[in-house]
Amino acid sequence: MLRRPTSKLRKRAIVVSLALSVMGLPALADGPTTRTIPRNSAGVDTSRIVAIGGDVTEIIYKLGAGKNIVAVDATSQFPPDALKTKQNVGYMRALSSEGVLSTRPSLIIASDGAGPPEVTRALKSAAIPYVTVDGKDTADGLRLKVNQIAAALGLTPLGKKLVSEIDTKLSKLDERRKTISKTKSVLFILAARDGRAIVGGNETSADAIIELAGARNAVSNLTGFKPLTDEALIGASPDAIIVMKRGDGSKSHEDALALPGVKLTPAGKTKQIFVMDGVYLIGFGPRMPDAANDLMTKLYSRDATDANGQGVN
């Protein structure tokens, strides 16, 4: 505060020259204003991206464009860097038009679940390119999402590469799945509140990943995420139970393990109960093949409660 303006200027000059030397000679020659702006094939500026949807953000990072993201939505839990270093425009179903615009985006890439509809409509009319990413929670859906996002970023070759990586992993997964002799039934517990388990039934991302991991859903008679009573939990008699852990380090999964019915299931008796990260397992981002593979390993390797501490009794 008492510093004289000259010294401030000098300091700034040092910073600027340092920055220029880091940027290299071309920057010095052209001046910093003509720094190349990344563009996609349609000529859209991709230097300031707003990413809406956890899977969308994850794919953008995977394609190496994470540095161009200026804001993400609250569901963008992975990589953890996203919510720490980028602005947060709130939950993806409750966006604010002016809030999103205030981040001065040059491109908005949003999951088809973004909302409310009036806001997405206003954003689409705002002369800022708006890309809707749709894709179901399946292997095909994942490929579709990667291709759409890569095209929007002007990174189609990188997208193709990522898809082929995913395909390689998925075909290995298929090979492994064929070696499974006896399909296990799995119960997916999303959360447990007041002693009631919320489980993943039919048509959920949990159901999809269980199938990819070569198992079958123990509660396929339910549709959606539903509460399950203790009695029904015992009746479902799962061979294994997966409990979701939230990424924020909370201990909510311990409530699920304390459910009285859990002990009486085959899974409880044989200690086939696994705690897994929710965003990783059912996020259906680019890590999906790894997640399915990990789940398969946990389900079908004999020493599930081994030293890596994933098994819980």
Binding site: G90, R93, L95, S96, G99, S102, E118, A126, A127, G224
Partner: protein, 364 residues
Amino acid sequence: MATANAQLESRSRAVGGRAQSRERLLSVSIAGLFAVFVLSLSVGATGISLASLPDAAWFKLFGGDEVTAERNALVLFELRLPRTLLAAFVGASLAVSGALMQGLFRNPLADPGLVGVSSGAALAAITTIAFGNEFAKPWMDAFGVYGLPFAAFIGGLVTTLTLVAVAGRHGRLMMGTLLLAGIALGALAGALSGLIAYASDDRELRDLTLWSMGSLTGASWPKVFAILPFAALMIFAIPFLIRGLNGFLLGEAEAFHMGINVERTKWIIVLTTAACVGAAVAVAGVIGFVGIVIPHIVRLVAGPDHSIVLPASAILGAGLVLIADIFARVVVAPSELPIGIILAAIGAPVFLHLVLRRGVGGME
């Protein structure tokens, strides 16, 4: 009327200086509303201020290719202005509806949702959220993004008309029946809403929760024009209801002996409230608190005379919702808070303070 007014006057004098504070309240609140209105236009996540209004207006009128002006025009005229107007109309409608219901039922706890509008609107809204891709698809395809608000309005109106049909006998509206039947219908609509919520997936559940917290996020010109006629109708009806409601303060029979057309007044109040609250719920979701607290604040400050309670409620209701919405937009920008949280956080302490200092304002 003269007796009623005399009684009100003497009551006012007993509390002290209320005639003066009335005028003061009206002029202060009009000035305040204007200030808040301008503030609401000038703040927001983008940091665009009113200084950019001339440029933006020029762009709006004559076009151009300047990117900044285009963005400013979009934010000021397509986002902030409709949102500000919508907040004002919703606030005024809810506050006046609350004042009307409390006057009609002579009960300080009467809520604008008492005539079944809110529960009916909620049931219809929840139905379109949960079944928008199933049997409600033709409806949603026909009305697009306005499918939900329109369904909510129809739902509210149908519930109220059912109630009125149940409580009306030979042209007379039985208030006790109306109240109890309203509770019964509300419970029924609540049960159906619960059943639908049970069958919803987690995304639909989040939508349901967010809708029931109320929000002005989706404000747009069509929504402003949707609520405008109802808010105008209510403002227009106010002068015709003052005498009747002041009569009701003394009791229904007394009002009748004062020459007030009791039945007509009741019908007008119930139907206006239903239409206004239906429109407000349709465009902004369920926004509680305003309808109960604002009329009480007015009564605490200026006494129970409806010639002040009704207009002041309209102005203060609009102002409170505007202030709350400004906070909702700015506090966690670029994200947004649900307005209900802020309304309660701002309004509850003020209300409690007034109640502790002044009693309950002629409603005991």
